[in-house]
Amino acid sequence: MPTPDLDERFRRWLKLIAEMHDGANFTANQTIAWAPLRKPLSECSVALVSTAGVHLKSQPAHDLLNPHGDASFREIPGDTHTSNLAVDHVHYDTTDANKDPNCVFPLDRLRELVSIDMIGSITPVHYGFMGFIPDGRMLRDTTAPIVAEQLLAQHTDVVVLTPG
C-alpha cells in the first residue's frame, strides 16, 4: 500500500539508517511470495517468529554491540513459561516487553487460542531473532532459510511474525 506519505517516511528512514550504520543495505523480497491457507485455522499448527530480541533466560542474548547486527536465532519451546523469557534489543524500549513478553511474543495468548479451539495447536518450537541486521542480505542468505526449513519440518501450517 505505498502512498506518497508512506514513501516520504520510507525515504527519511532509509537516509537515517544510511547515516547511522555503515554498510546498511535495505533488502526487500524480490517478489511477494504467497502461500494459501490450506485448512481452517481451528485445525492449524501455528508458530511465532519474532525479531524483537526474545530468548530464553538460559540462552545467550543476541550480540547487541556488533555494528553489523546479529542474524542468529534462538529456539523457544512452545511450552516455555513466559517468565523464563528475556527480551534484549538496543533499538527500541524493551521495558514493557520485559515486564510481559507477550507484548512482542504472544506465546501465552496463542496457547489460550488453542484452549478455545480458535487454532488447532502450536508448534513444538518458536523462533526469536534480534532484528537489528543493517545488511538484510545477511539474514536472507543465512538463517532465514534455515528457520523456514525447520518450520516445514515441524509441519507448521501458519506463522505469525512480530517486530520489536
Binding site: 526487500a28 516487553a97 507448521t156 517486530p163
Partner: protein, 88 residues
C-alpha cells in the same frame, strides 16, 4: 530495522509454502518489504501486540490478526486494525 528483518523472514517462510502474517507498527517499511499479508497497528515500537499485562487486549489483537488469513485475498495487502493506543 526489525521490520526489514520480519519482511525477509516472512518471504523465506512463504517461499517454503507456509502461509504467514506479520504485525507492523512501521507501515512505511513494511510497504516496501514485499510481504504476503500484514496488519498495521498504530502502536509504538516495543508493543506490537499491545500493553504489558493486558491479556484481554493482546488476545483481541492476536485474534484479529489471525482472522485476516481469511480476509486477505491479494498478495501484498496491509490491513490497518481498528485498535487505538490509549495508555496514559
Amino acid at each position: 530495522m526489525c521490520h526489514q528483518s520480519v519482511g525477509l523472514l516472512q518471504g523465506a517462510i512463504e517461499d517454503h509454502g507456509i502461509p504467514s502474517i506479520s504485525i507492523t507498527v512501521r507501515p512505511e517499511i513494511t510497504a516496501h518489504a514485499n510481504v504476503s499479508r500484514a496488519c498495521y497497528l498504530r502502536f509504538p515500537t516495543g508493543n506490537p501486540v499491545g500493553e504489558p499485562n493486558k491479556p484481554e487486549q493482546q488476545r483481541l489483537i492476536l485474534t484479529a490478526v489471525l482472522e485476516q488469513f481469511t480476509e486477505i485475498k491479494e498478495p501484498g495487502t496491509i490491513v490497518e486494525l481498528p485498535f487505538r493506543w490509549r495508555r496514559m
